[in-house]
Each structure stands twice: as structure tokens, then as C-alpha cells.
């Protein structure tokens, strides 16, 4: 290993001084805080969902939640859409600006933030008055109020605006830095949004051309199958839009925070390119759907396993960075470095715990994606068990960790209640592990998801009661941990102290830096990878769309809630 250490030491980013403009700063901070506000609403609903599986029905007692399904819709929309959109918008705008050493267009950032807030109101109000209990999958012919569909559309447009601001800054940067490699921190941030631009097209088309006009009675009916296909075209890739901002932190900040370095610049870029190229994997959510041929199902099986590969690359890069850090702190032996990581720092512990939770998250994801094993898990609680280990931990726990340094960085106020912050990630980790154990075991024993289990009219099958109890206990512990997190952030924000000055963002160096010449230059040709992605999408989705367009609008609307 000592030979590797001496290769090249290069800073990932432009090391020059950089100051965020007050406008950029304002919109980025607001976006981050707005995301956590959405999360706070969402986890409250989540708490009650967890109790539901333990057989405790509280829906009718709570304000703004008449039924389980209404609460579930709010939980899904607020946590999976609004929280993730707002955090990614703020966080990756910041990393792009710092990576390029150039402020983004403030007007676009402002517009993006305003659209997200409007979108949240438009989607949120119908949910809370019980006119949009369609869950976050919004499958027709279950029909929500038109404002719900408009709200979702506005939220998506708000993310596109961030991408536009990033690309404009990149174009300007390229003019001034001819022949230079794109700084890695900006590269991974921009690629995340390019991936999302491509993959949000499906649900955007569904929402704007099928659902919104239909909810305004401008169309005779809906096409349930085509809508599901368009939804899941986006619906799988959206998980990478949730995950990649956490990856950005894991690649760029964690190595430095643990006292290590990122191993390879190229490997990081290749991982993000693979996420952009391997977009068409959504059909694997439809293995048990009729109307979708085996060609599509087998094709996405292979591509989905392909997209597990960049996550395996990430596991390698990050583990290696952690090991270097741990050894630099005096860790010995095969695993001794692990205990020498700076565990006292909640920013680090939250994200390392997030990575650990992501291991079973990834494995259960591979199980879901397995063509015929999916028959066992499809639409059972196995699935929420899985994605509470990914979105619910790898992503959310990482954002907790990021917030512990980012909020002080953006506000200049020191982190309050440090003792609470130190334990909060551990409590969350414990909670989500118990929760996921419950949901996953329940799913294998046939417990359906998205079901008001507390009020079913038949005897629960063997094993469901234990699974449900664990889900309820784990969910409660997660909720307590979230409350502690919000407490820390709230006290941090309202305190009068204004002492912290972060000299700069703590981004890492790489051992194998960005090569100024050679084959690696092609990694920066973003348009090539976008083109490749579109070719693959055309091959997988083209035949299906050609035979299913124009849509057969034969299903009448149904409002069974």
C-alpha cells in the first residue's frame, strides 16, 4: 500500500478562496431548512404508520390525518419527495458553487425555491383535507385533486432549475478553464442532476400529459398500465437522486473528515457515469404486472444488476478512504482502523452508520430486483423494510450528519447540544435496524405493505405479530431520534452565539488525481454519456412506448377514499 501513497496528491477542487454570495447563501440555507421542516412533518406521520403495524390505530385521533392512507400519502410525499428535493437542491447547489469556485445564478435559485414551496402547498393541502389519498405512487385510476398533480409538477420543475443553474455555471467555468478537468466536487454534483433530469422525464410526462388534464376532466379516462410504466421509469431512478447527494458527501467530505483521502478520482467519476448511463431499470418494479412482456423484464434485470456495480465501486472507494483515515489515527490489524475513526464527531458517526445500514439496504434491493425472487417480496413490507435502510437511513442519516456541520457552516452558529448530537445517530441506527428487521421478516411471511394492518378483518398470519411489534418499536425509536435531531438544529438556529467561522468546506484530496491528459478526459465529456443513456432508454422503453402510444384512456376515475 505504501507505493500507492506516493503516487499523486491533488486537491479535488479549485483551492482558491471562494465566498458564497449573500443571495446564493440565502436560497441554499432556506432550501436546506425547508427540507428538514418537510421531514419533521413527515416523520410524525411515519411514527403513526409504525404503530399501525404494531396493531395500534391512532389515525382518527390526529389532526390532519383521518385515515391511515391519508397519513401514508403525507409521509411518502413529504419525506420521499419534498425533503429529498429540497436537500438535494440546496446541498448540491452549494457543492457545485464551491467546486467550480463560482456562484450560481441567484435568480434561478430563488425561483427554484419558490416553486418548491408552492409545489409543497399545492400537493400538501389536498392531502391534508383528504382529497388526495393516492399515496406517493399516485396510480390512476385512483384520482386525486388536480392541485396535487400540479404541486408534484412544480416540485419537479424546481429541481430542473437547479440543474440549469449548475450547467450554466459549468459552461461559464469551462470558458475560463479551457482544457482543465472539471473539479470532482462539481462533477459529481452536476452528474447527479443530469441523471435526475433524464430520469424525471417519465413521471413528468405522466403527471403533465395524463394525470393533470385527466383530473381537470379534460381526458375521457386514464391508462393504468402506461401510467405505471411512466411512473416507474422515474420511480426507480429517483432512489438514486435521493442517494447520490449522500454519495457526494461520502466521496468528497468523509475521506477528509476521517483523516484519510479519496483513492481514485477516475473511479469516482466512473461510478457517477454509470448512474447516468444505466437509467432504464424501472420495469423491475413491474415484474408482477400484466401487460409488460418478458423482454423488458429480463432486460431490466440485467441493467438493474449493472447499476448495483457503481454502488459496489463506491463501497470500495469509501471503505478505502475510511481505512486510510483509521490507520493514520493509529489503527492496526485487519479491522483495527475501524475503531480509530473519529466516532465522537456526529457528522462522521451518522454517515458511517448510514453506510453500514446501506449494506443490508443494498442486499435487500438486489433481492427485490431479482426477477423471480420478486414474487416473494413484491408489495409486502419487505419493500418498505428495504427502503428504510436506503432512503430511510443511508440518505436521511447522512443528511443528519451533513446538517451537523453544514448548518453551523451556513449560519456561523456553533452546533448546540453536542452531547445529544453525539448520540442521536446511534439511536436512529438502532431504531431503523429494529424497524427494518420487523418489516423484512413480516414481508417474507406475507405481510402486505401500504395496508392498515391495525384494522384488518382477519387473523394475522403466523409471525406477523412479532414483525409488527418490532416495526412499531423500531419506528418509535426512530421517531425519538428524529425529535432529538430537530431539537439540536432548532437550538442551534435560535441561539445568539455567532462564533464559528469555517475557513472552507472540508473537502478531500485524492491519491490518484484527475489526469490532465489521456483516456480519462472522456469522463468529462458529459454529452457522450447522456447520449449513451438515451440510446439505452430507447432500446428498453422504445418498443413498449411504440406499442402503447397513443394511450388507451379506458379506465374511468375512481375516488375510493
Amino acid at each position: 500500500m505504501s507505493t500507492i501513497f506516493q503516487v499523486q496528491t491533488q486537491v479535488v477542487e479549485n483551492p482558491k478562496e471562494f465566498k458564497l454570495s449573500p443571495d446564493n447563501h440565502r436560497w441554499i440555507l432556506l432550501s436546506i431548512l425547508f427540507g428538514f421542516a418537510a421531514l419533521a412533518f413527515g416523520v410524525f406521520q411515519g411514527f403513526v404508520q409504525g404503530l399501525n403495524y404494531a396493531g395500534i390505530s391512532l389515525f382518527s385521533f390526529l389532526p390532519g390525518m383521518k385515515t391511515y392512507y391519508e397519513g401514508l400519502t403525507a409521509h411518502g410525499v413529504l419525506n420521499a419527495f419534498i425533503f429529498t428535493f429540497a436537500e438535494a437542491n440546496g446541498w448540491l447547489a452549494l457543492t457545485t458553487a464551491r467546486g467550480l469556485g463560482r456562484n450560481l445564478n441567484s435568480k434561478i435559485l430563488a425561483l427554484s425555491f419558490i416553486l418548491l414551496v408552492l409545489g409543497t402547498l399545492f400537493a400538501g393541502i389536498p392531502i391534508f383535507v383528504g382529497k388526495a389519498s393516492v399515496l406517493y405512487t399516485f396510480y390512476p385510476p385512483l384520482r386525486a385533486h388536480w392541485a396535487f398533480y400540479l404541486g408534484i409538477a412544480l416540485a419537479v420543475v424546481s429541481t430542473w432549475l437547479i440543474s440549469a443553474a449548475q450547467l450554466m455555471a459549468l459552461a461559464a467555468w469551462r470558458k475560463e478553464h479551457k482544457g482543465e478537468r472539471i473539479p470532482l466536487m462539481a462533477y459529481v454534483s452536476i452528474m447527479t442532476y443530469i441523471m435526475w433530469d433524464i430520469s424525471s422525464l417519465g413521471a413528468a410526462a405522466e403527471d403533465l400529459f395524463l394525470l393533470l388534464p385527466w383530473s381537470l376532466n379534460l381526458l375521457p379516462g386514464s391508462d393504468p398500465l402506461l401510467s405505471r410504466v411512466l411512473f416507474w421509469y422515474t420511480g426507480h431512478q429517483i432512489v438514486y437522486y435521493w442517494l447520490l447527494p449522500a454519495y457526494v458527501s461520502w466521496y468528497i467530505f468523509i475521506p477528509r473528515m476521517v483523516g484519510g483521502k479519496l483513492f481514485s478520482d477516475s473511479l469516482a467519476r466512473i461510478a457517477f457515469i454509470l448512474f447516468v448511463v444505466l437509467v432504464p431499470v424501472g420495469f423491475h418494479h413491474q415484474y408482477t404486472d400484466p401487460g409488460v412482456g418478458n423482454y423488458y423484464k429480463i432486460a431490466v434485470l440485467i441493467l438493474t444488476f449493472g447499476i448495483a456495480f457503481p454502488s459496489l465501486l463506491t463501497a470500495f472507494s469509501i471503505m478505502y478512504a475510511l481505512e486510510i483515515g483509521g490507520r493514520a489515527n493509529g489503527g492496526k490489524g485487519i479491522l483495527g482502523w475501524f475503531w480509530k475513526l473519529p466516532w465522537a464527531n456526529p457528522t462522521v458517526s451518522a454517515q458511517v452508520l448510514a453506510m453500514i445500514a446501506f449494506l443490508p439496504g443494498g442486499i435487500t434491493g438486489i433481492m427485490n430486483a431479482s426477477y423471480n425472487m420478486n414474487l416473494l417480496t413484491h408489495n409486502t413490507t419487505f419493500v418498505p423494510g428495504h427502503f428504510h435502510l436506503t432512503l430511510g437511513s443511508a440518505v436521511t442519516l447522512s443528511y443528519f450528519g451533513i446538517a451537523y456541520w453544514l448548518i453551523p457552516y451556513l449560519t456561523g452558529k456553533p452546533l448546540a447540544l453536542k452531547g445529544v448530537a453525539k448520540w442521536q445517530p446511534w439511536i436512529y441506527f438502532l431504531g431503523v435496524m429494529i424497524f427494518a428487521r420487523g418489516e423484512i421478516s413480516g414481508g417474507i411471511l406475507g405481510m402486505p405493505r401500504r395496508t392498515a394492518m391495525a384494522i384488518i378483518n382477519y387473523e394475522p398470519l403466523p409471525g406477523w405479530k412479532l414483525a409488527g411489534a418490532l416495526t412499531g418499536i423500531g419506528g418509535t425509536i426512530m421517531f425519538i431520534s428524529c425529535v432529538l435531531f430537530f431539537l439540536v438544529i432548532f437550538v442551534t438556529l435560535v441561539q445568539k452565539k455567532q462564533t464559528v467561522t469555517y475557513p472552507d468546506m472540508p473537502f478531500t484530496e485524492t491519491y490518484l488525481g484527475a489526469a490532465p491528459s489521456g483516456w480519462q478526459l472522456i469522463l468529462d465529456r458529459l454529452s457522450y454519456w447522456v447520449l449513451l443513456s438515451f440510446v439505452l432508454i430507447a432500446l428498453v422503453y422504445g418498443p413498449f412506448l411504440l406499442t402503447h402510444i397513443p394511450p388507451k384512456l379506458t379506465a374511468p376515475p375512481f375516488q375510493g377514499f
Binding site: 392512507y69 404486472d289 382477519y458 379506458t554
Partner: protein, 160 residues
């Protein structure tokens, strides 16, 4: 690339390929199949989806039909918020082909403890085969959210 990187990359690729091979083996040799494209019921102009489903065979006769020795055809219609028929009786060892569709919204048709798991979408025909080699009462569960009373949508299969 460094040697360590190369080893890791090839190891990752091999694991993923091994998984894919295992899945293909299970589909071909063990015949674990998922539903596929089995046709769609499209209403005539002016006709409602409900009446189109009701007149289209085999959905004009929901229930059990014996199509050969030990071979059965079970036709199920999902609607808010019940299965038609709600209870099914089969002899031990019955080799069943399920035909399902929905009259109104997306429903699920799932029998825990078996590999029968399929979606019932309005007008789409779902087909899945299963052999019941164990006696007992099986529960049918709708596992796709279908409105207020979704959790009450259930049925049974009794195998004697």
C-alpha cells in the same frame, strides 16, 4: 488502474453475473415465472370497462373450472373491495392457472406462502401458474392500495 482496484472490480462483476445466472437457472429449470403480457380487454366505443370485462371470456365466468385431470383454471376478478370469487376450494395437488383482472382500480392478488403474486390492473389480463402440493387454508391478500377499505379486501383458498 491499481491492482487492488482491478481485483475488486472483477470480483464485483463476477458476483453480479453469478446472481443473474442463478435467476436464469431458476426461471428455466425450476420454472419460477413472473406474469407477462397476456392481453388486454379494451371496451368498445361507448361501452364501460366493467361491461367489457364481464362479457370477455374467461371473465364472464369467475370461479373454478376443471380443464383436465388435476388441472384447473381459476378466474378471479378484483374490484373495490373484494375478490370474486372470495373463497376457492381445490383438491390437493391441483395444478392451477390463475387468470385475473380488475374492474375498477389497481389491486393485488397475493397468496402468502406460495409464489403466487400478481397485479390485477383494470382491463389487463394476468396469468400465473401454481401447483398446490400442501393441504391447508391459504389467504388471498390484496397488496396494492385500492382505497379506503383496501385492508378488508381478502379471500381464502382451501386445499384438501
Amino acid at each position: 488502474m491499481e491492482k487492488l482496484e482491478k481485483i475488486y472490480v472483477w470480483l464485483s462483476i463476477s458476483i453480479l453475473i453469478a446472481f443473474i445466472v442463478a435467476i436464469i437457472y431458476a426461471s428455466l429449470a425450476l420454472a419460477v415465472r413472473v406474469p407477462t403480457d397476456s392481453g388486454q380487454i379494451v371496451p368498445n366505443p361507448g361501452e364501460s370497462l366493467v361491461s367489457a370485462v364481464m362479457r370477455t371470456p374467461p371473465f364472464n365466468q369467475p370461479g373454478i373450472q376443471e380443464v383436465g385431470p388435476g388441472q384447473y383454471k381459476v378466474v378471479v376478478i378484483g374490484q373495490a373491495w373484494m375478490f370474486n370469487p372470495p373463497s376457492i376450494e381445490l383438491p390437493l395437488g391441483a395444478d392451477v392457472t390463475f387468470y385475473g383482472t380488475s374492474l375498477d382500480i389497481d389491486h393485488g392478488f397475493y397468496i402468502p406462502g406460495t409464489d403466487v403474486n400478481m397485479m390485477l390492473l383494470p382491463g389487463q389480463i394476468s396469468v400465473l401458474r401454481h401447483k398446490f402440493n400442501k393441504a391447508g387454508e391459504y389467504r388471498i391478500i390484496c397488496h396494492e392500495y385500492c382505497g379506503t377499505l383496501h385492508h378488508l379486501m381478502t379471500g381464502t383458498i382451501t386445499v384438501k
